[in-house]
């Protein structure tokens, strides 16, 4: 545990990763995560590790593939379009059962999109992202403190289950400053145990180790074995946080920065005499479906708040499975939620109104509102649907 200090999100993440024992980092410049490779370039060598500015995101993730093969705590970071490029390496890492950490400081998409913070990569992160049947563990911090402390958690999970772990943050979280502390002492990676699967020098008579992705005839057995691990992870590793969920009429569901705006909404609601709770998934995969399903039976409606076009809401609906109406308050393309706009949507649910509730097939109310908000924040609101 350290004293509280004021840190920028991306720098807390980078320092947290070094403290967590990361000794190999490869990355490529992309906004809004540049502080991560910059910090690594300044501090990795003194920690005894290696920093490489790669020629591309593809090369960076493949460098991580090589470094992770040796059992070294290895990491890369990028932002949305760069993470798309890394998907090749991520599916290979999954197929070769290699633990590593991938950080996505999300920006607006699709394509080059914008550099504004976004949550548009939820599908990509939670559905695998590359080719084939696989998952990565996805951690969704909602504070600078969690950004700094999640690399350690990420490696513990990644190494326990031999698979990649992704920290899914967003541009604002990466760029904002907050006071934070590290809840663990720096880890000396030399004190960590060696993996019996890693490639290394001086085999000293042990059987040779191969790290490989082509499985051929063994692919079925390979995927089945991995599926068993995935099942265990879904049962045991789902993490979440609850606020005011014991006695609420409307339950908000949000992760990352959106959950901070939801906390504001919960407080506003209290002042207004409304009973509103918050359920925050901390792991997006595994998704904490079981607990959400329990809560769903106790409330009048569920409102998913996300900075994307209805991605998280799909997992919420799968978990709730029709027990309760699930609504969406969406801020795609760089839009940012705040407590008041969320509260408007809550009031719509309670009164049968439409304002603030987004429906893809009937999008007037939700989108107009989000665009007005964007304009007031000085951002471009291109979508004028329903005005």
């Amino acid at each position: 545990m350290t004293e509280k200090t004021l840190r920028k999100g991306n720098e807390a993440l980078a320092e947290g990763a070094i403290r967590a024992g990361v000794r190999f980092f490869a990355g490529y410049p992309i906004t809004p995560q540049n502080e991560v490779p910059e910090y690594m370039s300044a501090h990795m060598a003194e920690a005894g590790g290696a920093f490489v500015q790669a020629e591309s995101e593809i090369a960076a993730i493949n460098m991580v593939y090589g470094a992770a093969s040796t059992g070294t705590r290895s990491m890369t970071s990028s932002s949305s379009p760069g993470i798309s490029l890394k998907q090749e390496g991520i599916t290979y890492l999954a197929s070769a059962d290699l633990p590593c950490l991938i950080v996505n400081v999300m920006r607006g998409g699709p394509g080059l999109g914008s550099i504004s913070g976004s949550q548009g990569d939820y599908f990509q992160a939670t559905r695998g992202g590359g080719n084939g049947d696989y998952h990565v563990i996805v951690l969704a911090p909602n504070s600078v403190e969690e950004l700094g402390n999640f690399p350690k958690l990420g490696f513990e999970l990644a190494e326990k289950y031999r698979m990649p772990c992704m920290i899914l943050a967003d541009g604002i979280l990466g760029q904002m400053m907050e006071s934070m502390s590290f809840n663990f002492d720096p880890i000396d990676p030399n004190q960590l145990g060696k993996f019996d699967w890693a490639v290394d020098i001086h085999k000293n008579g042990r059987k040779k180790n191969n790290v490989y992705s082509y499985k051929g005839d063994n692919l079925i057995a390979d995927v089945v074995e991995r599926a068993k691990r995935y099942g265990l992870i879904e049962k045991t590793e789902a993490r979440f946080e609850e606020r005011n969920t014991e006695d609420c009429d409307v339950l908000l569901v949000a992760y990352g920065l959106s959950s901070r705006a939801c906390l504001e909404a919960v407080n506003h609601a209290k002042e207004a005499g409304l009973k509103v709770g918050l359920f925050r998934p901390i792991t997006l995969w595994p998704f904490p479906s079981k607990r959400l399903a329990e809560l769903a039976g106790k409330v009048r409606g569920i409102l998913t708040v996300e900075q994307s076009l209805g991605q998280l809401v799909q997992d919420v609906r799968l978990a709730v499975n029709g027990r309760t109406p699930v609504y969406l308050n969406a801020y795609p393309a760089g839009g940012q939620p705040d407590g008041n706009t969320i509260l408007t949507a809550v009031r719509s649910i309670l009164s049968g109104g439409k304002e603030g509730l987004f429906d893809l097939q009937e999008h007037a109310a939700g989108f107009t509102y989000a665009c007005q908000r964007d304009t007031s924040l000085g951002m471009q609101g291109d979508l004028k649907g329903g005005k």
Binding site: A26, A59, N62, A67, T70, T72, E88, A96, N209, S213
Partner: protein, 247 residues
Amino acid sequence: MTIIAKKPASLTDLPMHYCPGCGHGIVHRLMGEAIDELNIGDRVIGVAPVGCAVFADSYFACDMVQGAHGRGPAIATGIKRSKPEAIVFSYQGDGDLASIGMAEIVHAAVRSENITVIFINNAIYGMTGGQMAPTTLVGQVATTAPKGRDPKLQGWPINMCEMLAQITGAKYLERVAVDSPQNVLKAKKAIKKAFENQVKGVGFSMVEVLSQCPTNWYATVPQALEFVRTKMMPQYPLGVFKDEGGK
């Protein structure tokens, strides 16, 4: 009884799957001999490619990593930077190294990664069944160049050693062939040097091997060897393109 020739200890006992007349097996053996002679077998970590040599991870007795198409030099970079005391090689074909992996090989050379790259140039995509490679000769027939490679449509073959020789970080570049006993001996010398350079910390070393692919050239083995000599060598002259090992 005296043993005058034996399989290198750096190779496993697994029978290789390569087609009759293919050059891969010869090059594997030469690498195994070089590793044995340099006594670095317990320090070597190899990177196997995608393509015909995808199973090379089973043929070398050292620890091996098999990764994505073209990314060998990036994977080798990750291994070498994490285990600087390891001797790391990347084994790649022409589609792998000179097409999809062009950025990775160039920048591994730019950074002068202290790794050894063995580049098999047989002017064709073998594993996928004979498609045009970046190194396919002008006029050479491939399944994706059925009338022969036409520079107007498909450009000209790329000479990797000559290209990489422009890069300061590339320290040793030599092109060899395995078409004759004499050339096999020269290839062995070059491969050994490329490993020795790494032991000495010289920096990026690559040996390009002109290799025969009778199957996808629709040739008998003698015809294939003749093709290497009469068609490939004029486009890809053998020799040392850079040697800064001693400096």
